[in-house]
């Protein structure tokens, strides 16, 4: 018999399960639950991909950009030097109003920082402004280094013209920072006045009582010292001090345009790549070992299976 005939005869064999087996299997199959809609990988993928894309998109588009993040700190820096009242950078037309109370004795000190391209002209004009208002410059320090120049001026202006002086000085450039400091000395001067009056009354009493000359002289010196101090305070209050700082604009810093909407995805891929590199470095040898173990187990199992089926 040829191999072809042999195969034909083998294929002609009819092998049918006995009725008892058929009945058993029918009973087993009858217990099968109704077919359900199964969650396959493909279905899970079809659902998971749009969900992941939606989540990624929401993260990327709702994330505040770098430009927005840096805007607030810049504002803080501009406000930082303020002690009493300070304007933010660039508020060239809104200089601070100096509170005026002509009947009170107040020590007024202001600080004004301006940015101008022509510092030397600014110095000249500032001095002219102050002089025209009845004031005078106390000190002027100017220095130049390359394209950058700065000048620091201490100016005295009659207190009743300080508002006008500040307004005119503010027009010399762009206001970078502005500070006004007012200290009211009226109460302390009133107290000094009362003290002087009390001492003068006491002096009159001493003179009437023919007190010793030394005692009268000491009291007189004390009254004169108090009067000098009062006069000095009133003189100081007559003039307001303006510390003016002029500087050229700084070299333009490279503009950071922030990140595009895909920056988040790029960062995510970078971290995924780093993670993958670490995983490969650490997990690579472990995976190789596992594969070798798996191959060995598979080989042993196959050998045993062949031995089992060789009988």
């Amino acid at each position: 018999m040829s191999q072809r005939d042999l195969v034909a005869e083998l294929r002609a064999a009819r092998v049918e399960a006995p009725p008892e087996v058929r009945e058993r299997v029918r009973l087993i199959a009858a217990a099968a639950p109704d077919p359900r809609r199964r969650l396959t990988w493909r279905r899970a993928f079809v659902v998971a991909v749009p969900v992941a894309a939606a989540v990624a998109a929401s993260i990327v588009f709702t994330r505040p950009s770098h430009h927005e993040q840096t805007a607030t700190p810049l504002g803080r820096v501009a406000n930082a030097p303020a002690t009493v009242r300070t304007t933010p950078a660039g508020a060239a037309t809104k200089e601070l109003a100096v509170p005026s109370a002509k009947q009170r004795v107040q020590i007024v000190g202001t600080t004004l920082s301006l940015r101008t391209r022509r510092v030397s002209d600014g110095v000249k004009r500032a001095v002219r402004i102050v002089t025209s208002l009845g004031g005078y410059p106390v000190s002027v320090h100017a220095q130049t280094a390359g394209k950058e120049a700065t000048a620091d001026l201490t100016l005295k202006v009659p207190r009743n013209h300080v508002q006008q002086a500040m307004s005119r000085l503010a027009q010399l450039g762009t206001i970078v920072a502005e500070n006004v400091d007012v200290q009211d000395r009226t109460a302390s001067l009133n107290a000094t006045d009362r003290t002087i009056a009390r001492l003068q009354k006491r002096l009159a009493e001493l003179r009437a009582a023919n007190a010793p000359k030394e005692q009268i002289a000491a009291l007189t010196r004390r009254i004169q010292a108090l009067q000098r101090s009062e006069a000095a305070t009133r003189r100081a209050a007559h003039y307001a001090t303006i510390d003016l700082h002029l500087e050229t604009p700084r070299a333009a810093a490279p503009v950071h345009r922030g990140h595009g909407p895909l920056h988040g995805i790029g960062v995510a891929f970078r971290y995924i790549g780093i993670g993958a590199a670490y995983a490969f470095a650490i997990g690579g040898p472990a995976i190789v070992l596992l594969v070798l173990v798996w191959l060995a187990v598979r080989l042993v199992r196959r050998r045993r299976e062949e031995a089992l089926l060789s009988r």
């Binding site: 083998l10 002609a12 064999a13 087996v21 299997v25 087993i28 199959a29 009858a30």
Partner: protein
């Protein structure tokens, strides 16, 4: 395809495969029932896109048969001293000559298995190889070797 449909369509194939594999029709009857019980438990894992129900059932039947062989071997070791188990006369199906039945019985279980899959169930080499867990080339080699042995056995009988 429901489990009932699969069971009805492939019952004879599974039984035939097990009958040839074990060369014991009584064992094949029990193993067929066990195969379908196990298949029912695992039916939720069956994916028609990865293979036909017949291939999937044959893979389960093979696992069941291997478990059977292992338990038989352990039982034989335990009962070596006791009276040997009654040998069932192999019967592989209707329409086979006694010589061919005898020749099939002389093949090893592994050889009968590959003949059952490739010839009786008419699976192609790739599908049969997947059931056996070997390469298609290895499967074809095993089939040729088994057929040659059958041929030689028939020649000797003649």
């Amino acid at each position: 395809m429901t489990f009932q449909q699969a069971a009805e369509a492939h019952l004879d194939d599974v039984y035939g495969y097990l009958a040839w594999f074990t060369s014991d029709r009584f064992a094949a009857e029990d193993l067929t029932a066990v195969t379908f019980e196990r298949a029912l438990r695992l039916w939720h894992r069956f994916d028609p896109e990865r293979g036909s129900a017949r291939t999937w059932l044959c893979q389960i039947a093979r696992t069941v048969a291997l478990d059977h062989f292992r338990s038989e071997r352990r039982r034989a070791r335990r009962e070596e001293i006791a009276a040997p188990r009654e040998q069932v006369e192999p019967r592989f199906g209707e329409g086979l000559s006694p010589d061919l039945e005898s020749a099939l019985a002389r093949l090893s279980a592994g050889e009968r298995e590959v003949v059952a899959l490739r010839v009786l169930l008419d699976l192609d080499a790739g599908t049969a190889a997947r059931v056996l867990g070997i390469s298609p080339t290895n499967c074809t080699t095993r089939l040729n070797r088994a057929l040659r042995k059958l041929e030689e056995a028939l020649h000797v009988a003649a």
